[in-house]
Symmetry: C2
Subunit: 116 residues, 2 copies
DNA sequence: TTATGAGATGATGAAACCATCATATGGTCC
DNA sequence: GGACCATATGATGGTTTCATCATCTCATAA
């Protein structure tokens, strides 16, 4: 806990990006971003993502550890929420960057194809 | 190349975050973000960051591979630039998120301390 | 052409992350 | 309290990333 808080900001940022560096975790965050109140039960996430419950649980634990999501138990159901609106923004910006970058790469590919 | 372009967007996003998931790489990007024209020579980066040249080179190669930076050789000097303005935005948003999150964590810590 | 400066790449072992299965824990109902 | 559902955690081998040293490549000057 303490060890996560302390240290230069660039280290903490890198650590945050580590927490985001897996496809399943991105999917979770995007599903949450698109949900009412930015919240979903684990059951709902399981239905959307379609992986084994324990696999998803491992990834949710990672997201919790990085404080990217919060969880709340209600009876036997657990609801996950985005911990901060900036997470959705982060994903949106990443999408713009990738859209532009991939567009550029595809343009290059098309050019090479046109020459073949 | 092709393999990087193809696949679901959430996989590509996760890959991007992998590229950002190291302190040295964050420092590079932040130094570039803060520089005129978002550009710096490797020599300047070495001076700022103070690690061994080959270590930095490895990280710069990772950033190039993820298309987060571009490089241009001029004589014996190589200049690195941010490949897209959104990268600087990504870092700025991450900072806001972390500032808020860390502030919350510190508040909790202070509370616990106050009880001890 | 050789020497030198700047920067990149190759190689390798250690550390961290991932995939996956087994098991544990929390909650509800009968 | 036991059975069942929902979810989390533990364990372990495989894969990827990281740290670091050695070496290579590009460019320039003499």
């Amino acid at each position: 806990m303490l060890s996560e808080i302390e240290g230069p900001l660039y280290e903490i940022k890198a650590d945050l990006f580590k927490g985001l560096a897996h496809p399943v975790r991105i999917r979770v965050l995007e599903i949450l971003s698109a949900s009412p109140d930015h919240s979903c039960t684990v059951g709902e996430l399981l239905g959307e993502i379609g992986i084994e419950a324990s696999h998803l649980s491992q990834h949710l634990a990672t997201l919790r550890r990085h404080r990217v999501v919060t969880s709340e138990r209600t009876g036997s159901a657990v609801t996950y929420s985005l911990a901060h609106p900036k997470i959705a923004e982060l994903l949106a910006i990443a999408r713009v960057f990738l859209r532009d970058t991939l567009a550029g790469a595809r343009a290059l590919l098309d050019e090479v194809d046109a020459r073949a």
